[in-house]
Amino acid sequence: MHLYKITLFLLTLFIVPICKSQNFSINGTITDAKTGEQLIGAIVTVKELPNTGAAANSYGYYTLILPKGTYTLVIRYVGYENFEQKLNLTINEVLNFAIEPKGRELKEVEISAEKANENVTRTQMGVDKLTMKEIKQIPVLFGEQDLLKTLQLLPGVKSAGEGNAGFYVRGGGADQNLVLLDEAPVYNASHLLGFFSVFNSDAVKDVTLYKGSMPAEFGGRLSSVLDVKMNEGNQKRFGAKGGVGLIASRLTLEAPVVKNRGSFMIAARRTYADAFLKLSADSNRRKSTLYFYDLNTKFNYKINEKNRIYASGYFGRDVFGFGDQFSFDWGNTTATVRWNHIFNSRLFSNTSFIYSNYNYRISVESGDLNVKIGSTIKDLNFKQDYQYFVSNKNRVKFGWNVIHHTFIPGKIEGSGIFANAVSNEKRYALESSVYASQEINFTPLLTVNYGLRVTDFRYLGPGTIYTYDENGEVLTTRTAGKNEVVKTYINLEPRINASYLIDEKQSIKAAYSRTVQNLHLLSNSTSGNPTDIWVPSSNNVKPELGDQYSVGYFRNLKENKFELSAESYYKNLYNQVDYRNGAELAFNQLVEGELVYGTGRAYGIELLGRKKLGKLTGWIGYTLSRTERKFREINDGKYFPAKQDRTHDISVVIMYELSKKWSLSTNWVYYTGNAVTFPSGKYQIEGQTVNYYTERNGYRMPAYHRLDFGATYYRKNTATYESSWSFSIYNAYARRNAYTINFRESSTDPNQNEAVKLSLFRLIPAITYNFHFK
């Protein structure tokens, strides 16, 4: 009821109908002429009106509103030929554009796809976009292209560790990033304990990371939104692409269902390290498994000019097993069904029904021991979004979203010492939100985008509800009935972005945003374990809140060849979750009693210099930052550095088009070591040496740095077929970066202690063969 009233209020606030009789609208889609794939973010500009333009939304749909007249429309997109069309506008027009991708030719100056100074003019700040081309060129571990690892090369985004797909954004935790794959949240975005991400880059079309003020249509996490969109599939003809790499192979098939109206795409990837185990002489080893796979599928169909449907799915799993005795598997399943509907040239709607599931299963059958363990988080999600074009200078977005969460924190059954094991109770929650935002160009120089998101989170029965005293001991116990609302949290999340163009080449921007997070990940590792569990906000756990203030200066040089930016942020975080010493996180019905709550702050400056045009492209990023947490129970209630607090973080990425056949790339990263807890002494218990700790995160890991090289050789490149070899060297100067440091008795002299550094991945060469039947 609350939400309904707020919705009405927001609607009346935003939508002031502007009726000028002479204005007409032009709308439609922008697609790739070869494949029919919709082009997100393609730009339509009007030659005669330099300040007027529109960008295609995330469904490839654009709207322009112009007075009666004769115009030349120019369509632009990265890697595509510019397209011009003359138009005499006397009625509302539907114009669908299909533009030609550029061949792989060497050009002195490549016309940028975006509006050349998009970096300066865009209102939103703290947004990073990577093109699939960049993701494919930058060298990575084992040559396995990975958008999450490439994102970590941007300022403000930090890697969770060596070769790790986990990431931290502006001082937030790894669980404070909302990772969306075709709008479906992915609860564990990594494979093989974090060394690979779940994203098969052949299936990915577009990647956007919001690290600053996230738009009002997104919510649910404190730090960032990573919005990944899958390819739709070729609308014109059958296509196939794939690759054979050191650790995995990929194959993607795409084809029209009905030419120019619908298509499908199916992409699969599997690692095969375990295939070599089959060569083992030992029968148990032959029966062992260690692999992961991903399956992405998407289907779309244009019913008519006004209606289009999409269905997409992801299924991925890691499987680890030893003989018949032990098996452990985990993975995500997501499914999205979407309906795009164009009410009229000004009002666009998207309706989505989304399913998301993450679970793990462990089974042990060895002698007398027989136990099966599992845990699941499952979402059913209904989402309705509208985009209303009041005018070219006034665009409104609004919508609502309802998510039903089911948590199965721990399911256990077994015999022997697990005979009486009791599974933890399931938990339920309903998360509803409404939002509205408006982007207004007050003057050609000043643009403001402001919005509000309202989140209503309800912790639902049935289940046993506990309260705890300050030591985490149970105070009261009661039983809540089915669908009983145990606790409701309503939070307002205001967001505002403003940009002021000083001139065509430079702008200043400022933003504020509040974010709320009602799902909390309990993890005892930095990289994310498959067995980490999510818990909802409840009568005991309060929603995490974040306030971020940021300002930035953006400047382009030499006709937009070079982009420079400086952004600074300050964040306050509230109700941050940590846990008591010795907390049992798994299979603990009373896990909420193990949690402690504190605050955090993070601030920093991010500098980025980027060259986007020419044979030589790349960027240099530098971040100076501090990230701290404060808990009453830790370090005497004083601020201490969070583990991801890294003072300096530098990345250099260079890509060079050497010839028609060869392209080269290199990157170098440097960052201050994580804040860690080392012993400040030792003592003996039962004759064993025990390390003595005095303060949380009072020490630093050694600084991390690494240089990688990559090269791509295009063997064949015709209109219908392309093949290439990719070569890479990870950690080219074989630096022994510290993965962990252990403090223990010396292996040579048990009377002495020593610090032992464990390093992984010294100089890893890799080779991958890629092909593409277009």
Partner: protein, 264 residues
Amino acid sequence: MIRYYTLLFIVAIFCSCETVIDVPLKDADQRLVIEGTITNDSNYCVIKISQVSNFYSSNSFNAVSNASVKIIENGSAEYTFLEVAPGIYKLNGFVGAIGANYQLNVTADGKQYIANSKMPAQVDIDSLSVKDDFFFGDTSKVVTCHFQDPVDNVNYYRYKSFFIDSTGKDINIDRDQFFNGEYIDRDLFSISGDFEEKYGDSATIELWSIDASVFDYFYTLSATLSAGSGQFAAPANPNSNISNGAMGFFSAHAISRKGIKLVP
């Protein structure tokens, strides 16, 4: 070619490299460490008092002498333990009683440290057995302890294994959360490699019935012992049941003991 890649992959993933490095660490403060046990076996009634030392100093028992050590039984009877060796405090003939409450009262360097522990009822080992086990393709001999877990209350156990010269250093503890009232076959330790040579040697197993705070100490101690620094959650000191910030534990526990010979 495939062999080469296999090798490369396996080297990279599994043969990560360890090097000893020099990490400057702060000096330790003068924190007191107490290891106190009162049991129904007089040999085990001993209080050891030491101090934290610098990490890079040699691994020896950094004894604290001249402390006042008292045990108070059921809130009334007071026993003073005497220093029999540097940092080792004992009272000849003292034996703990099942069900009794014990308070440890230590005064050292003008500071007082207090801990309480109640000796739980003894749970007897029914029998021990030795069996073959196959894991990761290797055969080993496993010693199993059989006992009946009492149904009436929450039980906490610690198992100690002694075999030839290797006193089991592993911290092996259980709580009957998942097996209350069941007859338990608990695999304790395995002997792999040339176990044929060890036929005829005997193993001794002790089953300790400990209280909840001691269970919590050993649970958190095993986490402290296995913690590394880097990829995992911050390590911390174990949860001690001793007041005033002392490290260590005070445990009153009942011991049941049995031996078995390793046979083919």
